[in-house]
Amino acid sequence: MRQVMDYIEMKIPAKPDYVGVIRLTLSGIASRMGYTYEEIEDMKIAVSEATTNAVQHAYSTEEGGEVTLGFGIYEDKLEIMVADSGVSFNFVQTRNELRPYTESSTVEQLSEGGLGLYLIETLMDEVRVLNHSGVTVFMAKYLSGERENNGTTATTHEAN
């Protein structure tokens, strides 16, 4: 497995008001990495769905508090974790604890936001759900072969 190159973590209050802020952040990270417009739009929906679920879930608990998002930036993919516990997580440890998503693990969410989870699964390359003290949704999208040239263009001048 390739190493995480960079990791970005954000916390938002568990309110729908900030789901749009998450989309903007994701959009910035993904376009920096070279994803296409279509891929970025797909990821925006998937991440919004997960964040909306987390906001609703966190909001219904006594804590009421925060939703934590982690963006793991790799050379060839972007991993996103959305946790409703509001507790900072150890990215690598949490990632290794994740198991494949099964029908039974998300029945509760399917009844309320089934379409949302369906969209996450359809739009992302990998989706897993970890259910312990809270719910953590993990998703990943691989960079396609065709990268958009988004970085600086290096021009080489040969000195005579």
Binding site: G20, T52, V55, T122
Partner: protein, 103 residues
């Protein structure tokens, strides 16, 4: 990151023009605005989505609610001018087959 909702009530139809993003934040206001209009309405509600730049399952949920309400009271919901992105969303969720998605 807001949603503007412009409603014009004519004799034969209700025309709704939406602009902006429909997500968990804006969907409740959309539902509050449109669902009462659909109540007992037996004509056509036309919703123009040309300027909707973002839509997810919360927005789809509002349209499903409107669709059901209008249908049960003898009315009809028509969604028009969807971008390719939005069309795709209706297609992959299967809603495109159930609902009237026009150009």
């Amino acid at each position: 990151m807001n949603l503007s909702i412009d409603v014009k009530e004519g004799n034969e139809k209700i025309s709704v023009m939406l602009a902006g993003e429909i997500d968990a934040f804006t969907a409740p206001s959309l539902r509050e605005e449109l669902l009462p209009l659909a109540e007992g309405y037996n004509k056509t509600m036309v919703v123009n989505l040309k300027d909707v730049s973002y839509l997810d399952s919360t927005g789809l949920g509002v349209f499903v609610g409107l669709f059901k309400k209008l249908k049960e009271d003898g009315g009809e919901l028509r969604l028009i001018e969807l971008s390719d992105r939005l069309k795709r969303l209706f297609e992959i969720t299967g809603l495109g087959n159930l609902m009237n998605i026009g150009n």
